[in-house]
Symmetry: C2
Subunit: 208 residues, 2 copies
Amino acid sequence: MAYKEKYPSELLSDAVEAISSLPGVGRRSALRLALHLLKQPQENVHHFTGAIDRLRDEVHYCRHCRMISDDDVCSICSDHTRDRRLICVVESVRDVMSIENTGQYHGLYHVLGGIISPIGGVGPSDLTIRELVDRVAAMESPAEAEVILALSGDVEGETTSFYIYRQIAGYGVRVSSLARGLGFGDDLEYADELTLGRSIVNRQEFRP
Amino acid sequence: MAYKEKYPSELLSDAVEAISSLPGVGRRSALRLALHLLKQPQENVHHFTGAIDRLRDEVHYCRHCRMISDDDVCSICSDHTRDRRLICVVESVRDVMSIENTGQYHGLYHVLGGIISPIGGVGPSDLTIRELVDRVAAMESPAEAEVILALSGDVEGETTSFYIYRQIAGYGVRVSSLARGLGFGDDLEYADELTLGRSIVNRQEFRP
């Protein structure tokens, strides 16, 4: 970028470089943010950077479900009102937050930390699949339990679901996946054929 | 936000809070950025926060023009090929960078650090107007010098230009303002380089 040589200060240039390394933040936005931070009181800036450093340095991952947590066991796994017979398998921390936000699920989770992707160089051993299998194997009555595969509906998500299914089906646990179909309020006209097709095949009884 | 109570970790909540304090960054983007940083190697995150801390802690302001700088005197003021008879008065550091980027200007600058704004509670004494008057007063031959008022074309910019004009006109220095190639009310920062460059070249005598 031609801009780079024009930075009036190495410190500014370094900060812009660092900020623009964030996903979705261009050089122009990074400059704007750097100059904004420069105008803030020093203690506010230290509070800002401190919060980020502490997050990275001190965060824990729940030893059961691998969700991020302030403690060794996360607030969901240590909540005894949750249904321990349900394990919802998701790709990321954000997925847990999205599902929690619906208020519709009261079981436990398992965060894979990614998805099987030969192109991205992510294999089963890079994820927490081993830990999931261990959780299932340790269940007292697997026949009464259910593992919900809540992964993306793309090829990588399907591949990962299939891989996990093969690992855990032998324990007699029930395995389900998310219902797929039209979103609420979706227009038929704009739905892709695959989604629409699935919606027809998996149609449900009309309960007005 | 209902989201807040759902954060699985205080550390994450604090980081999201800090990141969303940046202008133009909502809570959702902040969460995305926090989780991105969480996945980076620890040293990368420390490099990121370190660059921001260093910028805030170690940056200098040029003692002549108040531009940010790594030293006591900025690279423009210490560049002896620049025309010392020209002082371009701008609101902010970003404006200097914008004008430098046009490649059309080879004089010096003076960064006001803001603009007179009764509503925003910014008066002349909050800006570096005193320092600008001192620079003009110290000129050996002010009649050969020129002060270019390169402020925004809105009411506050005009007010500030007029205030500065009254402070420095008595020293016999020529005072000009940017050519009205910019639309009225346009922000310098968002002007394209051609328009901004033309505005500098075709600057006009300030006639209040």
